[in-house]
C-alpha cells in the first residue's frame, strides 16, 4: 500500500513536475541573461577597482594610510606632485618655486583658471586656508608649521612660506598623498569635513562604507599641458566612473580579478603570482618594484635595548635575507640590500652597509657580553594583520636564540599594537613596514622626534638639521649617506630589506601605468 501511495504520488505529480522543470529552465535563462553583462567589469563607462580595505577616513589631510591617498588623489590635488622618477613637479602650482634668503623664503606661483568641483574658481585664499589646515591637522604639515614664521599671499597669484630655517623636504611633503596638502575651497574647510570638494579629474559622488567609494568624471577639469609623466602632467578622466571597492580578503581579490569582476586588484599575495601568470591573456600581473620595506623598531628609551651595545648585538644577530625569504618566499618579490634607497636614486648610498645582514651569532654574543646583557627576555611585538610581520617575528626569535638572546614574542592585533607601542614600558621591539617614499624624512617616522622608539640623540639632531637645511639636491644626496651610517651605528631601527608588490589588471584596461599609489586617470 505504501508503494502504491508513492506511485500514485509520482504519477499525479509527474505532469506538474515537468511544467515546473520547464518553467525553471526558462526562468533561469532569463535570470542569467538579465545579469550577465553586469557580472564582468561594467565596461568602458566604469572601472571596478579592488582595494585592500575600506579607507579609514576620506579626509586626505587626516589620513596617514596610503589607501586613503590612493583613492582620494583622484578628487584632490596638491601644489606639487611627483613625476615617474620621483622628482617633484608642479601640479596646482604653475612652476617650481622661487627660493630666496638661503632657502628660508619660498614663493610658489599658482596655476590660474582652475576650478573646484562645485564650480568655484581656486583663489589664493583657498590655497592659504587649505595649507593652514594642513599644517594644523596633518603630521607632515605640523613638521612644516614648527619651522614656519609666516605663510602669506603676496598677490593673487602666489603664496609665500617664510621659514625660520631652510627646509629641504618642504615640496616633497606637500607632494605626498598621505597627509595630503590637498587644496580645497575655503567654504568647505572645517575640522571635520562633510564635503569632499577638490580640483581633481574626478569628483566625489558617494561612499557606502565597506562597499564602495564612487566618483565621476569632472567635466570642468583643467589639465596641464605637459606630457603625462608619473603623477605629473596631463590628467584625463577617460572613464566616466571609478568605483573603489574594499576587498579585505586577498584571495577574494585574486578570484575576483580572475573572473573578470575587477578591472584592477591591488596588493595581492605573492603566492598568487604563478596563477595570475598562467591565467591567460585576460589578466596582466603587475610587479611594482621597491614598493616598501619592513623594519624593526627598537625601544631606545627604556628596557634592555636602551643600551646601544645591545641594539648593535641584535643587529649582528639578524640575518635580513632569511627574514625576507620567510616573509615573501619568491625572490622576485624582495631584495636584500643594505642601501636604504635603490641604486640610481638621489639618496642611494652604501654607507654603513657592512652592518647589514650580518647573521653572526658569535659577534652578537660578544657584543652582548660587552653590553653586560643580564639575560632578560627581549619583548617582541608583532601583529598578524600583515602576515609577513608575523613571519619576520618568528624567524627573528630563532635568530636571536642562536645568539643566546631570549625572546618573548607577543602577537597582538593591530589596534593593540598601535596602542602599546606608545608605552615604552611594555615592549622592546616591534615589527612594522612602510612604503618606500622618495623623500627620506617621510619614512620611517622614527626619523622624526616623537615616534615610538624615541630615538633622540645629539648626533641625530645635528645630522638631520644639516641634512634638512641643505637645499642643494646633489649635496643633500651625499649627506643622506651620513644619516644612513648613523642609523647603522646607533641602531634605532633595522630595515629588513625591500619588497615588491603584486597587483594585476584586466588586459582590457588600457593606459594603466604601474605606480606605487595606483591612479586611473589616463586609463580606459
Amino acid at each position: 500500500m505504501q508503494n502504491g501511495a508513492i506511485d500514485t504520488a509520482v504519477s499525479v505529480g509527474d505532469l506538474s513536475r515537468r511544467r515546473f522543470l520547464v518553467g525553471s529552465i526558462a526562468g533561469a535563462s532569463l535570470f542569467a541573461a538579465s545579469g550577465k553583462l553586469s557580472i564582468a567589469a561594467v565596461g568602458k563607462d566604469s572601472l571596478s577597482l579592488a582595494m585592500i580595505g575600506e579607507p579609514q577616513v576620506l579626509d586626505p589631510m587626516l589620513a596617514t594610510s596610503d589607501l586613503v591617498g590612493t583613492v582620494m588623489q583622484h578628487v584632490f590635488e596638491t601644489l606639487y606632485t611627483f613625476d615617474a622618477k620621483w622628482n617633484v613637479v608642479p601640479l596646482l602650482a604653475n612652476a617650481m618655486p622661487d627660493t630666496q634668503n638661503e632657502g628660508k623664503t619660498v614663493t610658489i606661483p599658482l596655476r590660474q583658471n582652475v576650478q573646484f568641483h562645485n564650480g568655484q574658481p581656486v583663489t589664493v585664499d583657498d590655497v592659504l586656508t587649505s595649507l593652514e589646515r594642513w599644517m594644523k591637522m596633518a603630521a607632515a604639515g605640523k613638521a612644516v608649521a614648527r619651522l614656519l614664521d609666516k605663510l602669506s599671499a603676496p598677490d593673487a597669484g602666489h603664496i609665500r612660506f617664510d621659514l625660520k630655517e631652510a627646509y629641504a623636504p618642504l615640496l616633497a611633503q606637500m607632494a605626498l598623498i598621505s597627509n595630503m596638502a590637498a587644496i580645497m575651497p575655503k567654504t568647505v574647510l572645517k575640522d571635520q569635513l562633510d564635503q569632499f570638494v577638490g580640483t581633481g579629474p574626478y569628483k566625489f559622488i558617494e561612499r557606502k562604507p565597506d562597499q564602495y567609494v564612487r566618483m565621476e568624471r569632472f567635466d570642468g577639469y583643467t589639465t596641464g599641458t605637459e606630457a603625462h609623466d608619473g603623477y605629473g602632467g596631463k590628467r584625463q578622466a577617460l572613464v566616466k566612473e571609478l568605483r573603489f571597492i574594499p576587498v579585505p580578503d586577498a584571495n577574494t581579490r585574486v578570484e575576483g580579478a580572475l573572473s573578470g569582476q575587477f578591472d584592477f586588484a591591488d596588493l595581492l599575495p605573492v603566492e598568487a603570482a604563478e596563477r595570475l601568470e598562467k591565467a591567460g591573456d585576460g589578466i596582466k600581473p603587475i610587479i611594482t618594484e621597491n614598493f616598501g620595506f619592513p623594519y624593526i623598531v627598537f625601544n631606545t628609551k627604556e628596557g634592555v635595548l636602551k643600551n646601544v651595545g645591545m641594539r648593535q648585538a641584535l643587529q649582528a644577530a639578524i640575518g635580513n635575507e632569511e627574514l625576507l625569504l620567510a616573509s615573501f618566499g619568491d625572490p622576485r618579490f624582495f631584495r636584500a640590500e643594505g642601501n636604504f634607497f635603490p641604486e640610481g636614486t638621489p639618496f642611494y648610498s652604501r654607507a654603513g652597509v657592512d652592518n647589514y645582514n650580518q647573521n653572526n651569532p658569535e659577534k652578537a654574543a660578544k657584543l652582548m657580553q660587552e653590553a653586560k646583557y643580564d639575560g632578560a627576555p627581549i619583548r617582541i611585538m608583532a601583529s598578524r594583520q600583515y602576515e609577513f610581520h608575523y613571519n619576520i617575528a618568528q624567524v627573528l626569535v630563532e635568530q636571536l636564540g642562536r645568539a643566546g638572546i631570549k625572546a618573548d614574542l607577543q602577537v597582538v592585533d593591530w589596534a593593540t599594537l598601535v596602542q602599546r607601542r606608545n608605552d615604552p614600558k611594555v615592549w622592546d621591539l616591534y615589527i612594522t613596514h612602510s612604503g618606500l617614499l622618495p623623500e627620506p624624512m617621510m619614512s620611517p617616522p622614527q626619523l622624526g622626534d616623537s615616534a615610538p622608539g624615541w630615538w633622540t640623540t645629539p648626533e641625530k639632531t645635528a645630522m638631520l638639521k644639516q641634512f634638512n637645511t641643505e637645499t642643494d639636491a646633489a649635496k643633500r644626496g651625499q649627506l643622506w649617506g651620513k644619516v644612513q651610517e648613523l642609523v647603522y651605528h646607533q641602531v634605532p631601527y633595522v630595515i629588513v630589506g625591500k619588497f615588491n608588490a603584486l597587483s594585476c589588471r584586466s588586459s582590457k584596461l588600457e593606459g594603466y601605468q604601474p605606480a606605487t599609489w595606483p591612479y586611473f586617470w589616463n586609463t580606459k
Binding site: 500514485t8 564582468a40 603630521a139 564612487r214 577574494t252 573572473s259
Partner: protein, 319 residues
C-alpha cells in the same frame, strides 16, 4: 484568553528588555577592558600622544566608563545608537547599509537549508536503516564538517572563474537591481544553506521518527489514507515543533554569524561589520551592531513561540 495573551506578551517583553540590557552591559565592559585604542588606529603612525589624547577627548573616550555607558544608554532609548568613530556616520545608517545583504542572504540560505534539510530528513526517517538513510546521514555529517571557506573558494573557482556563470564576490554594483543582488548571493547562500542543512536533516529525521510510530499514524494507514497525505498532514505537522525551532535558530545565526562566508565572498554583511569594528575598536558600531543582533535573536525566538501556538493550539490554551 485576552488576559492570558497580554500576560504572555508582557512576560516576553520584560524578558527581552532584560536580555538586551545584559548584552549591552557585557559588551560594553568587555570591549573597554580589551586592549587597543581606536584613536591610535585612526590617526596612524605619525600621531603623537598629544594628538591621540586630544582626539580621544573629542570622542568622549576620556570619560569614566560608567558615565559613558549611561550616556550611550540614554541615547539608545531615544533611538540614537551614536556615530561611528571610523566612517563618521550614524551607527543606525551603518547598520541599515548592511541590512539588505544580511537579510537577503539569511532568507536565501535558510530557504536552501530547509529545502534540503526537511525532505532529506523526512526521507531518511521514512526509510530508516536503508541505504538512503545511510546516504542522507553521511551527507549531513559531511555538510557539518566541511569548512565554509573551503567550500566557498571551490564554488568560486568553478562557477565564477572557470565557468563565469556567477560573480566571484560582492553584492553588486550601486545601480544593480534586486535580481543582480540575488545573483551575487547565490554562491554564498549555497555554502550557508548546505552547511546548515545538516542540523535540520538530523532534527527532522529524529523528530519524524518519533512521530512515525504513533498510534494515529498507524490508524491513518489502516484507514487507507494516502502515504503522502499521512506524511504531510499527520507526521510532519506533528514533528514541526523541533524542526521550526532549529530553523529559527539557524535564521538567527545568519544574522551576524556568517563572518567567514562574508569574508570569502566580500559581502557587506552584519557579521563582517562586527569583526571589522572589533579589529579597529569602533566602539559605537560594536555596541550598536551587537545590540541589534541580540534584538534579532529575541524577535526570532518570539516569532518561534508564536508559531508554536499556531502549529499546536494546545500550547496556546496552556498559555
Amino acid at each position: 484568553m485576552m488576559a492570558a495573551n497580554l500576560q504572555f506578551l508582557a512576560r516576553k517583553l520584560t524578558g527581552a528588555i532584560m536580555v538586551l540590557l545584559l548584552v549591552s552591559v557585557l559588551v560594553f565592559v568587555l570591549m573597554n577592558l580589551a586592549s587597543g585604542d581606536p584613536i591610535a588606529v585612526l590617526l596612524g603612525d605619525q600621531a603623537t600622544s598629544a594628538d591621540i589624547a586630544r582626539v580621544r577627548a573629542q570622542y568622549g573616550l576620556d570619560q569614566p566608563l560608567v558615565l559613558r555607558y549611561f550616556s550611550w544608554l540614554g541615547q539608545v532609548v531615544q533611538g540614537n545608537l551614536g556615530t561611528s568613530i571610523f566612517v563618521q556616520l550614524p551607527v543606525l545608517q551603518v547598520l541599515a547599509n548592511r541590512a539588505e545583504p544580511t537579510l537577503l542572504l539569511a532568507a536565501m540560505s535558510v530557504s536552501i537549508a530547509t529545502l534540503i534539510g526537511v525532505p532529506c530528513g523526512t526521507l531518511a526517517a521514512v526509510r530508516r536503516g536503508s541505504k538512503l538513510d545511510q546516504i542522507v546521514s553521511t551527507i549531513a555529517m559531511l555538510a557539518a564538517s566541511i569548512p565554509s571557506f573551503w567550500m566557498g573558494i571551490i564554488l568560486i573557482r568553478i562557477f565564477a572563474v572557470k565557468l563565469g556563470w556567477l560573480p566571484a564576490s560582492g553584492f553588486g554594483a550601486p545601480d544593480a537591481g534586486l535580481l543582480l543582488h540575488i545573483k551575487h548571493l547565490i554562491l554564498p547562500a549555497i555554502v550557508l544553506g548546505v552547511l546548515n542543512s545538516a542540523l535540520i536533516i538530523r532534527f527532522t529525521r529524529s523528530s519524524v521518527l518519533d512521530i512515525l510510530h504513533e498510534d494515529y499514524v498507524r490508524t491513518a494507514r489502516a484507514k487507507g489514507v494516502p502515504e503522502f497525505t499521512i506524511m504531510v498532514k499527520h507526521v510532519l505537522k506533528n514533528a514541526l515543533i523541533p524542526i521550526i525551532t532549529v530553523i529559527g535558530l539557524t535564521t538567527a545565526l545568519m544574522i551576524g554569524g556568517t563572518v567567514v562566508t562574508e569574508s570569502v565572498f566580500n559581502l557587506p554583511g552584519l557579521g563582517s561589520l562586527v569583526v571589522q569594528s572589533v579589529l579597529r575598536r569602533d566602539y559605537p558600531v560594536i555596541q550598536g551592531a551587537l545590540l541589534v543582533i541580540a534584538m534579532a535573536y529575541v524577535l526570532i525566538n518570539f516569532a518561534i513561540d508564536l508559531l508554536y501556538a499556531v502549529i499546536d493550539p494546545r500550547l496556546e490554551r496552556k498559555g
